[in-house]
Symmetry: C2
Subunit: 218 residues, 2 copies
């Protein structure tokens, strides 16, 4: 908490009226991980009762889409719609969560224009689309793979943009290497690795559908 | 050219060593439009000699992908790889083109971080992918629709980001309403309207391929 009244990097960042974080790292991460596991477990169990039509992969995909959809809408929504989260006198859980995350990327506390634009697109489009994907996979819609691919590409595009803008703007938004690796890289890597895997799978499925169509018309 | 030696908005933008534009609007637009029409015409004529296998729509799509791919790689590449374009003593055509475009969005002259990140993704991924799409449509690859849809979503995502960041950052990057409508809105609207049309078409084709697969396995 140098002279600027906040723990973030760069120190010259102005956060007037900053209210220090009350919850510890564990008090923030445990509820997030616990709630995420509960959502995944609930989707796994409910999807298992769909008369055995769904493969294990489909059920795992549903868990992921429910988790990422709710994260986008609830968590990131709480950030977007609380412009004063760092200065609220009575901060709630989400305010403290984004104070904690800002240790790995202070552009959140600074409400950087690029971050806000990314979050608007994520909350407005990717979140609802992810929740639709849960339904699309469950009911084996013909648009299921194309929808999943579209969201994955959006998530990858967003991550690419997120990392490139950080690099161009100075690459000094984390308190220490720990927060760089744990939050900036670690927490975001799920949204690089998993969308890549799903995008490749959906891409192959779509190509296979066209190949099958070609064989049929020969 | 107020006190800051450049014609852009906002006037307080610092562009040290700014060299005024030499070419007129017509001298910039005519070669661009002429070259674009030549590319489209060449692709249209060559694709017509592909033994009649290609529909008119396919040939039009090839014209578009060739045009947008070359625009992304050549034009936007010239911008990205010339960081000093506004201060070069001997400006070339592309330097003056981006001086002209900056009248509609001075974030180009300012080399705004978000704009640079967008251009990097556009030049590195969307440009080459667009040129691949020309080949994919011509040779009726099974990945043709999915590739086109992926690029279109990337272009739409990019445009959305482009407009939202401008809005959040003050919405004052144009010299006059004329440049706002002609450049910021007008020049970019092609990359909203056409990708939307192609994305909807490819989406339907992909869903139809899955529907056909379902009928087949019944």
């Amino acid at each position: 908490m140098a002279g600027h009244g906040h723990p973030y990097s760069p120190a010259e960042l102005e956060l007037p009226g900053f209210v220090p974080q009350r919850l510890s790292q564990v008090e923030i991460l445990a509820p997030f991980l616990g709630a995420s596991l509960l959502v995944a477990l609930a989707v796994w169990l409910v999807s298992g009762r769909c008369g055995g039509r769904l493969s294990r992969t489909d059920r795992l995909l549903m868990c992921w889409w429910a988790f990422t959809g709710l994260t986008h809408v609830v968590l990131e929504g709480a950030f977007l719609f609380t412009p004063d989260f760092f200065s609220k006198e009575e901060p709630n859980y989400f305010d403290d969560l984004f104070k904690e995350y800002s240790k790995g990327d202070s552009r959140y506390a600074a409400r950087n224009t690029g971050i806000l634009a990314l979050e608007m697109i994520t909350i407005g489009l990717k979140g609802p689309a992810s929740l639709l994907a849960v339904y699309a996979v469950a009911s084996r819609k013909s648009y299921s793979h194309i929808l999943q691919l579209a969201i994955c590409l959006g998530q990858l595009y967003g991550c690419l943009f997120y990392f490139i803008t950080a690099y161009l703007a100075g690459f000094n938004f984390w308190v220490s290497p720990f927060y760089f690796w744990a939050y900036f890289v670690g927490a975001n890597s799920s949204w690089v690795v998993i969308p890549t895997l799903i995008a490749v799978r959906s891409w192959k499925k779509i190509c296979a559908a066209f190949e099958a169509g070609k064989l049929k018309t020969r």
